[in-house]
Structures are given as C-alpha cells and as structure tokens.
Symmetry: C2
Subunit: 188 residues, 2 copies
C-alpha cells in the first residue's frame, strides 16, 4: 500500500508565517467589501486596500480520514468602528467541526447555527476554541497586534461562504469609546 508520508510544518511566529508556506490565501478589503457595515468607511479605506487577513494552508488531501490545518493571521485595524475580521463560513459538510488554538493576539470568535443561535468566545494565547458541527465561524481581531491562530478541521469539510457573504452574521463586533461591544447586526 502507498501510505501518505508524515511531515512537519514549522510555525515561525516572529515572521508570522508557516514554513513551508503551503497554499496561501490573502484577503484584501476589496475581496470582502460586503462584510463591513460602514459603506462610506469601506469606500475610503479601499483607496489603500489593505490586507485584512492571510491563511497558510498545509496541503492535505480532501478526504475524511485526513485533517486540514492552517495558520491564520488577522491584522489589527478597523473599518469605521468595526474590527478587521475573516469572511466567515459554514463547512460544506455542515456536520464537521473545527478547532482553533490561539497563538498570539486578542480576538473574538463569532459562531452561529443555521437557525441563528449565536455564541462568541474569547481568543487569547493558549485558548483552545471548539467550534462544533453546524456552527458557522468568523474571527475578529479586537487587539492592536496581529491575531494568529492554528486551525484544524476534517479533510473533506470544505467551505461554504455563500450565506454569510450575502447576509453577514447576526452580530457585529465594534469599538465604542475604548470598549469592544457585541451588537445585533441591524442589516441582518
């Protein structure tokens, strides 16, 4: 039998990268204009079109016996009063879970079921966040340094961005005064 061979990937935390880099996803503001609420602010910040986040994906077969894994970096910043965040997604195979281990920075993990129950967990170094089957998930950087975390999910789980890309999630994470607050998404 021809076995898939074991190998190491190395987290270079200071350089904020994975080695080898694997498949890199880079999301700039132009890739996610619908995600943020303040359309005037989006228009303004689009002139610079900053990178919002990056994902280094280890190359693994998309099969249920395998485990996808990646390092994600959400940069610090805000569009209006709304923090930089990932696009957010369900898994294509909805009944699959995901695990995040936060390595650096400070964030919120926003999760939502298909019938719109919402949970928000804190992300800080050493926190293991369990995203069970069926919960959509998005990460938000609420700090002033990059939020870096390790993610693992089933090999065949896949991504479904559709519904969240169209409608967003039921809550938004914003800065009010110097506080981080969770508010209902009025546009939802």
């Amino acid at each position: 039998m021809n076995y898939f061979k074991p190998f190491n990937s190395y987290i270079e935390l200071e350089k904020m990268k994975l080695n080898p880099e694997g498949d890199i996803i880079i999301r700039k503001l132009s890739d996610m204009v619908n995600v943020f609420q303040d359309k005037e602010a989006v228009k303004e910040v689009l002139k610079e079109n900053p990178i919002i986040y990056k994902v280094y994906n280890v190359q693994i077969p998309e099969e249920s016996g395998h485990l996808q894994h990646c390092i994600s970096i959400v940069y610090p910043g805000k569009i209006g009063n709304e923090y930089y965040m990932t696009k957010g997604h369900f898994h294509k195979i909805k009944e699959t879970s995901e695990i995040y281990l936060t390595l650096k920075g400070k964030g919120k993990l926003v999760m939502q079921t298909p019938d719109q129950k919402v949970r928000v967990l804190d992300m800080e170094e050493g926190n293991i966040s369990y995203i069970p089957p069926y919960w959509a998930h998005r990460t938000v950087n609420i700090g002033d340094e990059p939020l870096i975390f390790f993610g693992v999910y089933r090999g065949d789980a896949g991504h479904n961005y559709g519904i969240i890309e169209e409608k967003g999630m039921a809550v938004i994470i914003i800065e009010e005064g110097d506080k981080t607050v969770i508010k209902n998404n009025l546009a939802y």
Copy 2:
C-alpha cells in the same frame, strides 16, 4: 435542532495542565512495563513507579463530525538508556490521521505503518507534525524538561494499543554517550 455548544479550554503551560482538566489519563511505569527494553532497569525504577506521561482529554462525542483534542505531557527521564515515551497506538479506525503541535520541550515522534515502514519526526516548540492515516504513533521525550504538545484527531478515531503493546515498534530511541540515537528494536 439541539446543537452541541462551542466552548473554550485553556492551556496553562506553566502549571502543565488544561483547564478544565477533562478526562485525565495518568500512565505510570507500572502501566507500561513491557514498553521498555532494559528489564533490569524497569524492575529497579518500578520501586519508585514514576509517572511517565499524562494526557488531558477534552470531553467530545465519539462521532466522525467531531474532533477529539488533548494536551499531553511526557516527563523527562530514562529507563536504562531508553527515554520516557508514550505507549503508542494505531487508531481503531485506521484510516484516520492526527496532528500534534509541540508547545514545549524536545522530542521524537516515532511512526510506523502496518507493514512496518518507519518515520521519525522532530518535536520542538512550533512544530506541527502530521500523522497521516494508518500510521501508529508514539512520542519520546529526549530533552530534560517536560515535552508538552497539543493533539487533534477525528471524533470517532479511537485507539488500538494491542499490537504495539505486545511487540513494541520497529525502532527504539536511546541515549548513547550524550547523543540521541535511533536503533532497530532487536526484540521486534
């Protein structure tokens, strides 16, 4: 629908524990006397019967959409010239993989297929080790501080200790002079 709820677990690296602790497995030398080669040394060290390793398992349903995860601590030490290690296992569902992220310490990850191909990877802080489907796996602490790592595997993967408990693995990791060497297991 009744969704399984998201939650955090916290790695307390200084205290070498998970919070909440979950299901703790503690393996003392008396739980794994057959693992080590030097039977005289085993007999001697059994008088003290030290803890060889500990695993903090987060409590997760044993279903294929879920992900088991745990923090393992292999203590530093030797039985004769053979380093402390875990018992080692295949998964009950052999075609499931596992991922280790080393958090602290220095180790070797010994892997073996059912037809006895062997691979050994280095474990050091920031190393992500991918143990693909079908490979049995054992971790060996070759340093002088605890080896601590985070592990993730499919919810229903299960453990099969049988064959390795009986026969060991095809290689052993020992100290010779002040060097760590990988040798064929003559008792295999």
